[in-house]
Amino acid sequence: MVPGNNVFESLSDPIDVIGAFLEGRIQPLRFRWQGRVVRVRKVTGQWSRREGQTVLRYFAVESAAGESYELCYDPRSASWILSRAWTGRSRGQG
């Protein structure tokens, strides 16, 4: 085991998201992952990535519990993916 903390889990988990579409912008408000609801306290960053003709929208968010996540909105299927998570606990801890 090497020292140093690998702080993020890289994921590709489909998630359900409740969001607001305000003035042409998307704002994730809460999402469900691993059977629990995560409330978004703050969107800390946004960026996009082109995949062919599609522009995928990414959001870095901080949860009310102080956890960090990165979400991706895919407009082709109007679906969301959780791409990265830092919860300060291992996945097995639920």
Partner: protein, 433 residues
């Protein structure tokens, strides 16, 4: 004209700290997969006192800074943010020239007739970057690109340094010769051997000596030492033609398996060819870059009889170069690039055989599929064979395509556990859907 050089402070690490509050104030090291070997891509300012630097082996960084937070870098994120920053700069001036993913020159016109006014605009840009992105930038201001670039490094992070030629001489003449932009370690060593130890020494060095020792660049470097530079600022919407295009990859593990290396070369050749076609270039000189496990690097090139932007022609040359120059030692890094570029219209053959015409139509059709669906939608078969072993060449991150049950759940307040849905992303980000 006044010029700014906006240099984002520890860009990749700062982005991760801005996006993830739990990383703020901590030493953060951005790298490839932290679970594997590799090198440090960026280190936050908190990590730097430990001696961690970009380019350092991860193993060494872990030894120096064992308590750091290791974050897998996300190049697409940094490029996306870099483009947003360029947009921000263009609201202050249309003359913006990207210098790297985290640096850009901004040319100011009549709105900034003095150094003081240019510094005010620089301060406004700094504030807006902080407000919108939560990121720090150091900005150099000067009458030309050289002074702006060197001034940007005087005070970091979040520094602002405005210098006129006199100020440039005051600040830089006492400094080591290697602080000159364009003077690397080897050139600095040669200059020191001639008694040129500081920027001021270079400014006062006799022209005949510089000419005889360094050729045409000798006198140019002396002008630079006086803070003089007439390199034009080229706004990115009027970009210069590329000189070469290439891709390289640090393999997930040192590899001495010929078939695996050839599979990787095919992927790299395909990426290079695709990019050339996308940007309307053809080229003639194929270069192979080969770095072994001891960090010994070999660059070998071969000139083609005519121009091409086809992987089918680039790959065999790269493979021949590999076979001729690889001594069997485990390989750490492979790269393929094509230079001697020309615009495809200018170098096009006047007549095509029917078979070439068919190949071209097929290639164009495949390009259209990739344009529409992404790079991972079509890849050469030969690149798939060894992908699991070597993994690292990205064709674009796969997205989970698993159909998701969309039962109405207005509140998300009473979730049902859905164990086993998580799919840890593979290390090979090139998996086609």
């Amino acid at each position: 004209m006044m010029i700014l050089l906006v240099d984002m402070d520890a860009f990749f690490a700062s982005v991760e700290q801005a996006h993830h509050p739990h990383l703020r104030g901590k030493p953060v090291i951005v790298c490839g997969d932290p679970g594997r070997r590799g090198v440090v891509t960026a280190a936050s300012y908190e990590a730097r006192p430990s001696g961690v630097r970009a380019g350092m082996r991860l193993q060494e960084a872990r030894r120096l800074c064992p308590d750091a937070e290791y974050v897998e870098g996300d190049p697409a994120k940094y490029v996306g943010l870099s483009l947003q920053l360029l947009d921000l700069y263009t609201r202050y001036s249309p003359d913006v020239e990207p210098f790297s993913v985290d640096e850009a020159f901004v040319g100011l016109g009549p709105e900034a007739p003095t150094l003081e006014r240019a510094a005010e605009i620089a301060r406004a840009i700094q504030r807006e970057i902080d407000l919108r992105f939560g990121l720090g930038a150091s900005i150099g201001v000067g009458p030309n690109k050289l002074v702006a670039k060197m001034a940007s490094g005087v005070e970091k992070p979040r520094g602002l340094t405005a210098l006129d030629p006199e100020g440039f001489r005051d600040v830089f003449w006492p400094r080591d010769i290697q602080t000159m932009w364009g003077v690397g370690p080897k050139l600095a060593e040669r200059m020191r051997s001639l008694g040129i130890k500081t920027v001021g020494d270079l400014a006062r060095a006799p022209l005949p000596l510089l000419k005889s020792e360094f050729g045409i660049i000798g006198p140019q470097l002396r002008e630079c030492a006086w803070g003089e530079d007439d390199t034009p600022l080229v706004p990115y919407h009027r970009g210069l033609d590329a000189k070469s295009m290439g891709h390289e990859v640090t393999l997930a593990e040192d590899c001495d398996d010929r078939a695996s290396l050839e599979g990787t070369l095919l992927r790299l050749s395909d990426q290079v060819a695709r990019r050339m076609r996308g940007e309307g270039y053809v080229g003639r000189t194929v270069t192979l870059k080969l770095r072994d496990h001891r960090f010994v690097t070999v660059l070998r090139q071969r000139v083609l009889p005519d121009f091409t932007a086809e992987a089918e022609r680039i790959y065999p040359v790269a493979r021949t170069l590999l076979n001729a120059n690889w001594n069997g030692a485990a390989v750490r890094l492979l790269g393929v690039s094509v230079s001697e570029l020309a615009r495809s219209g200018e170098a096009k053959q006047s007549e095509l055989f029917a078979s070439e015409d068919r190949s071209q139509r097929l290639r164009e059709a495949l390009d259209r599929v990739r344009d529409r669906l992404g790079e991972a939608s079509v890849v050469p078969l030969g690149t798939l064979v060894h992908r699991r072993r070597l993994s690292h060449v990205p064709f674009g991150m796969p997205q989970a395509r698993t159909p998701v049950s969309r039962k109405p759940d207005a509140s998300l307040g009473a979730p049902a556990a859905r164990p086993g849905r998580s799919a840890r992303r593979g290390r090979d980000s090139g998996d086609p859907p």
